[in-house]
């Protein structure tokens, strides 16, 4: 009986299977002329409220916006978003803490991509896990609210360092929350020097126009 101890070299990315699917999605999006943003934050940062405000702006600007929204349970967010953006679909992950590229492919079935200009993917509220999984987006967007502490980018550098864009939410609450916006900006720069940061309030409308422009047409 002959046996042979071997070392097989693979040298491949662990998430290769996800990346193959997301690469295919990216091609489909580019072909259909769709801009795609992956919105990642902790639960409660105000992603859904922001998406509702962006939906109102898209409707008035004649931009066809679609939204995929991920949550562990319930379709509450999709129902909230539907009021301003009818092209919305809820992805219920049944407990999984992030979205993967294959879920995006499935959730898009039935949408006519040719009709869409801007696709927002609201990820499951989580600051760690979603940042590893490419969804075929143009922009990976990290969000945090003024109530979460100025040092949040330092505590969760994995996401904030890899984001293309950082969005600060609930700006209208900054004073009440005692948030030092200068310190917050410096902490974002410490983990992601040169990152574009947009300060927004879905309530007052501050920064929503600038954010919409960056998402829909770029810098």
């Amino acid at each position: 009986m002959v046996s042979d101890d071997s070392f097989i070299e693979l040298n491949r990315r662990v998430l290769r299977a996800n990346d193959l699917v997301s690469g295919g999605l990216r091609e489909r999006f580019a072909h259909a002329g769709i801009r795609v943003a992956n919105l990642i934050s902790a639960p409660g940062t105000g992603k859904t409220e922001l998406v509702v405000a962006l939906g109102e702006l898209a409707a008035s600007a004649g931009v066809e916006m679609a939204v995929l929204v991920g949550d562990c349970a319930t379709d509450n967010d999709a129902r909230r978003i539907a009021a301003s953006c009818p092209m919305v679909r809820q992805i219920v992950t049944d407990g999984l803490c992030h979205l993967e590229a294959s879920m995006i492919g499935e959730a898009l079935s039935g949408f006519d991509l040719a009709e869409i200009d801007l696709l927002l993917i609201e990820n499951v509220g989580n600051l760690v896990c979603p940042s590893d999984f490419d969804l075929g987006e143009d922009l990976k967007v990290a969000l945090l609210s003024v109530t979460e502490g100025e040092d949040k980018p330092l505590k969760y550098p994995h996401l904030f360092s890899s984001a293309d864009l950082v969005v600060v939410t609930k700006l209208d609450l900054a004073e009440a929350a005692g948030c030092d916006l200068g310190e917050l900006g410096a902490n974002i720069a410490a983990v992601n020097p040169g990152a574009l940061v947009i300060y927004t309030s879905a309530r007052s409308g501050d920064g929503i126009g600038q954010l919409f422009k960056v998402l829909a047409v770029g810098g």
Partner: protein, 123 residues
């Protein structure tokens, strides 16, 4: 708990390769994990054991090589290792550096295993 998804991806990649290569048992799977991946070793080991159960990968150990963060400092014009792995700052001139040279790796280097014995009847 993205470690479970990562563990399942590792098992799937190694399992399909082992099938092609005719590997019957796997002893060790070698990984490169960057400091910025947010992957917890203990948690990954725990999830890997569960994900590998019932596959050709069952019983294999994970060997994790940690890859440190390496930055390019434009001021000093050289590669630097930041004092705090999670802050992108040059330890010499204290400039903030956006150019990441390494630290985000999440790769399967390879695996060691034993080939299926040829010519032995399968009873």
């Amino acid at each position: 708990m993205h470690e479970l998804s990562i563990a399942r991806a590792i098992v799937a990649e190694v399992e399909s390769s082992a099938l092609e290569e005719g590997i019957a048992t796997i002893e060790e799977v070698r990984l490169k994990v960057g400091a910025l991946c947010g992957v917890i070793g203990d948690s990954l080991n725990f999830c890997f054991e569960i994900a590998a159960d019932g596959t050709v990968v069952a019983g294999a150990k994970l060997a994790i090589e940690r890859v440190p963060v390496l930055l390019w400092c434009g001021e000093c014009e050289r590669a630097v290792v930041p004092e705090n792995q999670l802050l992108f700052q040059c330890p010499e001139c204290k400039a903030l550096c956006a150019d990441l040279l390494s630290g985000r790796e999440l790769e399967i280097v390879g695996y060691s295993g034993e080939r299926r014995c040829e010519g032995v009847p399968a009873w």
